[in-house]
């Protein structure tokens, strides 16, 4: 099976690698320190995994919005993403 058509470069490899690492990390974390879901300001229960997912998804939209309005580079958008992720983990 030839996988050349998938067109791997180290950048995408790093991207998927970090996602896999985050998943493994969250799994180990939730085994070591089991946490009960908590109720946030949005009135539904979330686990740390849910919050990670929400931060990632939200960050993707923030970056897209940034590209639509200001164009690249994305450094400032990344800062907004970090603030957003912090808010999600803190309050949701």
């Amino acid at each position: 099976m030839d996988l050349a058509w998938m067109g791997w470069t180290w950048q995408t490899g790093a991207f998927f690698g970090s996602i896999v690492l985050a998943l493994i990390g969250m799994t180990i974390f939730s085994i070591k320190y089991p946490q009960s879901p908590k109720m946030g300001i949005l009135r539904f229960e979330t686990t740390p995994g849910d919050r990670l997912f929400m931060s990632l998804l939200g960050s993707a939209f923030i970056c897209l919005g940034w590209l639509a309005m200001f164009g690249s580079p994305l450094w400032w958008a990344l800062l907004v993403c970090c603030i957003y992720a912090f808010c999600v983990f803190r309050w949701v």
Partner: protein, 289 residues
Amino acid sequence: MTKTWNNKAWFMVLPVVILVAFSALLPLMTVVNYSIQDTFGNNQFFFAGFEWFEEIMTSSRFHDALGRQFLFSTIILAIEVPLGIFIAMNLPSKGWKSSLCLVLISLPLLIPLNVVGTIWQIFGRADIGLLGASIAALGLDYNYTQNAVDAWITIIVMDVWHWTSLVALLCFAGLQSIPEAYYQAARIDGASKWATFRYIQLPKMHGVLLIAVLLRFMDSFMIYTEPFVLTGGGPGNSTTFLSIDLVKMAIGQFDLGPAAAFSLIYFLIILLMSFIFYTVMNSLDKKEG
């Protein structure tokens, strides 16, 4: 039902995970790869950063298609959901009449999507179609291949024809689960028809109604075949919805980079919608116990 905590259940889920990973995860990874690379063919790739995303996000072509898509999905939901509830309330609830009606109204759902397109393509033509000919006989100028408004009306009527039954069937199943005693109680209290609907039938339907709204929203959001057969996205670009535009870009022009970026943005929107829906559904389940 209380469920047992058992991690061995993973073995039962494994075949599904492997199968879906093969048919969903691998292609998705490819899309991510393409979306940040440029190619000159021969499987030679180099890194292009977020160029394609920027190109798509700032192109008016994408904005227009997205706008059309949301407009279309909104119109579809606004027509099909109330109509579906209305039909469900009028369906005979038992006996052979009920079976007959159910079979007849489910029929459009089982027609291949491209045949639905073909049916309406023929039906709406002024020279050989019943609908087209009738409208022409009324003296109206109707031509879905030339006039954008006519094309939109035809596609919307076609979708209502095709999918309203799904909403109706779901609501019907919801109504069937209401015990007869509820209605008797309502009658004794002298409740009006509206009150019966508002306080007995609607609450019982909201679970299935949620599924109906989700399925209709998602399916209309990825509509491809029917408008493709009926109008081919035209006249001009007036009925080019997201999927049609994407297929044009990916298969027609073979623009891997932009098409992949387009796909990912499309997919992210779907992901967000699914997440909202899933969360709402779960919290409803909790509330009902």
